[in-house]
Each structure stands twice: as structure tokens, then as C-alpha cells.
């Protein structure tokens, strides 16, 4: 119920509609916080080194006791709050596909932070998503003008 109350308070908060750039900036912040959250959760799970044989319920408890996992979830929550602001201001058909950029960011983070091997098809996907997000933003700008 607490989350519900928070969400409606956010809905009542006004974001300046006169500067369209501000919403795109907030979308980017939301994606950045969401992706950072995923990566920090992953770092926490690596450090927690939970034994593979542990029952699922215990795995979840052990994960949630890890400070980095909690910090990651907090970052993710901050990203969601930014997202709520954006959704109140722009069409969902425009905003939602932009959030796909987080896949590209997380894949890049996995490669550069955790030295995960990124196959060439995935690099192609990162390029395609980035290109598509740029295309969408540009096409929307033209419609606004």
C-alpha cells in the first residue's frame, strides 16, 4: 500500500512540460539507474558466492542479506521513480522502446566490468538497439516540430 501512495504522489508532481529535452534526459537517467542496479546486484551475487546446492528460498534470503544486492535494488527503484515521471509526460509507445537501451548498457557493463565474453551476434544486437533508439528519438523530434 505504501508503494501505491508513493506512486500517486509522484503522479501529482509536475515536471516542466515546456522543455521537451528534460524528459529525454530523465529517460536516460532512468535507464542508467536501472542498468547500474542490475550490474551492482550481479556484483553482489558474485561476492555472496551462494552455494549452488542451497534451496531456492535460502538463496533468496542470502542474496537479500548482501549489502551490494540491496544497493543494486535501491538503484533500480530510483530508476523506476524517474520512469514514472517520464510516463506521465510522454506517450508510452515512444518511451517503452527507449528502455531497451538498458539491454545494451548491461551487456557493455558485463563485458567491461565482469569481463564476460560478448559474442559478435550480441555486439550486433547492441549496435542495433542503440541505432533503433537514436532513430526513434530523431523521428519523434521531427513529429514534435
Amino acid at each position: 500500500m505504501n508503494t501505491l501512495a508513493t506512486s500517486s504522489t509522484i503522479a501529482e508532481t509536475q515536471v516542466s512540460a515546456r522543455r521537451p529535452v528534460a524528459v529525454e534526459f530523465l529517460v536516460f537517467l532512468s535507464i542508467l539507474f536501472g542498468a547500474a542496479g542490475q550490474l551492482v546486484v550481479k556484483a553482489g551475487l558474485i561476492n555472496a558466492a551462494i552455494h549452488p546446492g542451497t534451496p531456492v528460498a535460502m538463496k533468496i534470503v542470502q542474496a537479500l542479506l548482501n549489502i551490494e544486492v540491496l544497493a543494486g535494488l535501491f538503484l533500480y527503484a530510483v530508476g523506476t521513480i524517474f520512469w514514472l515521471f517520464c510516463v506521465s509526460k510522454k506517450n508510452i509507445s515512444y518511451l517503452y522502446p527507449l528502455s531497451a537501451f538498458s539491454y545494451a548498457l548491461v551487456a557493455l557493463g558485463g563485458h567491461f566490468l565482469f569481463h564476460e565474453v560478448v559474442p559478435s551476434s550480441r555486439w550486433g544486437g547492441i549496435f542495433l538497439v542503440t541505432f533503433g533508439v537514436m532513430l526513434l528519438t530523431l523521428s519523434h523530434k521531427r513529429e514534435d516540430a
Binding site: T3, L4, S7, S8, I10, A11, Q14, V15, A17, L84, V87, S88, K89, K90, N91, I92, S93, Y94, Y96, P97, A100, Y103, A104, A107, S121, R122, G124, G125, I126, F127, L128, V129, T130, F131, G132, V133, L135, L136, S139, H140, R142, E143
Partner: protein, 109 residues
């Protein structure tokens, strides 16, 4: 059965975004507060159920098969926003969605 979980999860996840938009929309005259709270509540519930179904599906099928299906969420949200929210989609917009969907499918494979 895992296919049913998977697709229900994707559809519910897409619907969740529509519920959220209905709940927090500020582009037009906002709906009455009680109505907005119902939409936001539906967003939270559908998001939670979609996540649970996703885990259920993932426990019974290969990640490499299940994950690219997530890309289907992007055209789905767009189609739902046309029918439910009456949002207008330009040809360039559809093109961008196709590129993004293909990209997501390649990344998460």
C-alpha cells in the same frame, strides 16, 4: 505449459506499461484520483504476476530460447498503446521499433 507461462508473462508485462500510463498520465486532464490508484495498483499486480510467470517459464525452458521472446514486448506495447491509448505511430516509429526488437533478440539470445 511453459509456453503459456512465457507468453502470458510477455502480454501481462506489456499490459503493465499501459496500466502505468493510464495511472500517471499528465498529457491530458488527469483521471480522478481513485481511478488513477486502481490503474497504478493494476500495474504493480500485473508486473508482479508477469515476473512470477517469467520465472516459472524459465525454470522449465532454455534461457537461450525464452529470452529473445522478451523482444516481443516492444511491438506488443506499441500495438496496445494504439488500441487502448489511441497513440499515433508514424512509419519511422514502426521502423525504429523493428530495429530495437531485432537488437534485443540478438543481445539476449
Amino acid at each position: 505449459m511453459p509456453h503459456l507461462y512465457l507468453w502470458t508473462s510477455v502480454i501481462l508485462g506489456a499490459l503493465a506499461q499501459i496500466f502505468l500510463k493510464l495511472g500517471v498520465n499528465k498529457q491530458t486532464e488527469p483521471a480522478p484520483k481513485i481511478k488513477r490508484q486502481v490503474w497504478v495498483g493494476l500495474w504493480l499486480v500485473s508486473f508482479a504476476v508477469a515476473s512470477a510467470l517469467w520465472l516459472a517459464a524459465l525454470s522449465q525452458m532454455k534461457v537461450s530460447y525464452a529470452f529473445p521472446i522478451l523482444g516481443a514486448g516492444y511491438p506488443m506495447v506499441t500495438i496496445l498503446s494504439v488500441f487502448i491509448l489511441r497513440e499515433r505511430i508514424s512509419p519511422a516509429h514502426w521502423g525504429a521499433i523493428a530495429v530495437i526488437t531485432a537488437g534485443v533478440a540478438l543481445i539476449v539470445r
